[in-house]
């Protein structure tokens, strides 16, 4: 059945445009980062030194995950708009199979994100801070956490897409939740609770570089450590896919 999914996705120009945009924008952002001046000093090559590069890169890449979320929303809402989910059920696909394909697709997108970060990390690290190359593999496991983060965010995007069924409102709702609704909710909730909200949990997987230093000035952060956030992120991911399945199964197509 996944072959059918690939038949839909591979010839679709929108997919390649968004993926290209993800790579190019992330590369440009990381490249431009070296020219940024902080307190009158250029960040320069220090940005690209191993092993800290991996945490910086995954943190920056987490902002670009929204592009992958938007892509998945488009791919799912297209199926409602073209009524192809409906046709595939008529043709003999089960709702579980259709959703399983989207889950596998989101896995592929997560792998794509991880490979992009890996590629850019090696490229910038080895070309701009070659003297730290011996430590290139230290902390590289953070990319796996980044992959889980992408999967989590995509599960949220899938739920929004199944719920709304139209690309424009779906993308808007997804961005509104990530950028406005949850931050506002966090504002009104005590720190002990807001760190368990889904977007915050996913963000906790790729923490802000130098958070430890900031903590010494502002006091300890309420955010979960990546290791604490990991099981919760997996639970949220499973929950969102499960809800998407129930919605799809119990509504008319």
């Amino acid at each position: 059945m996944f072959r059918a999914e690939l038949r839909k996705v591979l010839p679709y120009r929108t997919v390649w445009i968004i993926l290209l945009l993800f790579v190019v924008l992330l590369a440009l952002f990381v490249s431009a980062g070296g020219s940024v001046t902080l307190n009158g000093q250029r960040v320069g090559a220090t940005l690209y030194t191993f092993p800290g590069l991996w945490q910086k890169l995954t943190y920056v890449a987490s902002y670009f995950n929204l592009l992958l979320g938007i892509l998945l929303i488009i791919l799912i809402t297209d199926e409602f708009q073209f009524r192809t989910f409906r046709q595939q059920v008529i043709d003999g696909a089960s709702v579980a199979e259709l959703l399983q394909n989207k889950l596998l697709l989101s896995g592929l997108l997560a792998v794509f994100g991880m490979l992009t970060v890996l590629g850019l990390g090696f490229y910038f690290g080895l070309t701009r801070a070659a003297d730290t190359a011996s430590q290139a593999t230290v902390g590289i496991t953070g990319i796996a956490l980044y992959g889980i983060q992408v999967l989590g965010l995509l599960s949220m995007a899938a739920l929004v897409a199944v719920l709304v069924r139209r690309s424009g409102p779906g993308i808007l709702l997804f961005l509104l939740y990530a950028w406005v609704a949850e931050p506002l909710l966090r504002f009104s909730l005590p720190d002990s609770l807001d760190r368990f909200l889904p977007a915050k949990v996913f963000n906790s997987l790729t923490p802000l570089p130098g958070q430890e230093m900031i903590d010494t000035v502002t006091g300890p952060s309420s955010a979960l450590l990546p290791t604490e956030a990991l099981p919760l992120a997996l639970v949220y991911t499973a929950l969102f896919w499960g809800l998407s399945y129930l919605l799809l199964r119990n509504r008319d197509l």
């Binding site: 010839p11 679709y12 009524r83 008529i90 043709d91 003999g92 197509l253």
Partner: protein, 298 residues
């Protein structure tokens, strides 16, 4: 064993009832026409049977089993509009459908040839006319050699030649023993190809059965009494026959009546003769399916 059985099927959308306890079964080898005006519940019926609409009540059985993905793969179905990916070519869309149906990809070529799309197979679906889209949908239903075809308004958007081609295709498939369930407005077409029909009106089943029996109930016998027979005598004699109903005057001193199933004009002639009434003429006026449909859905 029927290929499809619907038992007491109902569907409500909010306060609107789209189907009211529909029961019917489609036997193997039959060409079953589902008739009804817009909003009568034809597409809702097919949507529930095909698993894309949830029934509010009742049951569906395909091949004697609960509906599931496996038995849906034994069905080739076109429901409402042709649904394909606009950015894919006709061929790519059919290959995708073949994957979903677990059908041999080689059947794609046969389906393209049968529907006359061979020369346009590499064109994108978005560039197709409505007629071409409908042909592609028909091609998709044929993939994997399904045991039954479910066609919802298959001639929508087709020109007269296309309509004739679809009718020929359906006739050919039916002649090969394929079971076909077809919802259509084109009563003339249905009458030509269907062996059975069900007539729906506002979610109610008005009539169902073999086409000849549905039409037989619509046939009227025209009686021309001999000149010396009084009308009162004729009415009295007819009233004594419980299988004759709806006696009414026609033009030129003739009368018409409806005979119950199992009784023919010869029975009527004999029964009247036994009561001393001679007829100068007796004939059967056949009604078209269209006339019967209009009567049933009035």
């Amino acid at each position: 064993m029927p290929i499809l059985e619907l038992d007491n099927l109902s569907k409500t959308y909010g306060s609107t009832t789209a189907l009211k306890g529909l029961t019917l079964s489609v036997e193997p080898g039959s060409v079953y026409g589902l008739l009804g005006p817009n909003g009568s519940g034809k597409t809702t019926t097919l949507g529930i049977a095909l698993g894309v609409l949830r029934a509010s009540g009742g049951t569906v059985r395909w091949f004697g089993q609960e509906p599931n993905a496996n038995n849906r793969r034994r069905v080739g179905a076109l429901l409402e509009t042709p649904n394909f990916f606009p950015y894919l070519s006709a061929r790519q869309n059919l290959l995708l459908a073949a994957d979903v149906k677990r059908a041999d990809p080689r059947t794609v070529d046969q389906a393209l040839d049968l529907t006359g799309l061979g020369t346009r197979q590499h064109d994108k679906f978005r560039g197709f006319s409505l007629g071409m889209k409908q042909r592609l949908a028909l091609a998709s239903t044929l993939l994997g050699n399904p045991e039954i075809l479910v066609l919802d308004e298959p001639t929508n958007g087709l020109d007269p030649q296309g309509i004739a081609e679809v009718r020929d295709l359906v006739t050919r498939l039916a002649a090969d023993g394929k079971t076909i369930l077809i919802a259509s407005h084109l009563l003339d077409e249905v009458e030509k190809v269907c062996t059975h029909v069900a007539v729906l009106q506002r979610g109610d089943l008005r009539a169902a059965g073999p086409v000849h029996s549905i039409l037989a109930t619509a046939d009227r016998v025209i009686l021309r009494p001999a000149p010396d027979t009084s009308i009162a005598t004729l009415q009295q004699a007819v009233a004594a026959l419980p299988w004759v109903s709806d006696l009414k005057p026609e033009a030129a001193g003739a009368y018409s009546a409806v005979l119950a199933t199992g009784h023919g004009p010869a029975d009527l002639n004999r029964a009247l003769f036994e009561q001393g009434i001679a007829l100068a003429g007796l004939e059967v006026r056949h009604r078209s399916l269209e006339a019967q449909f209009l009567e049933l859905t009035r």
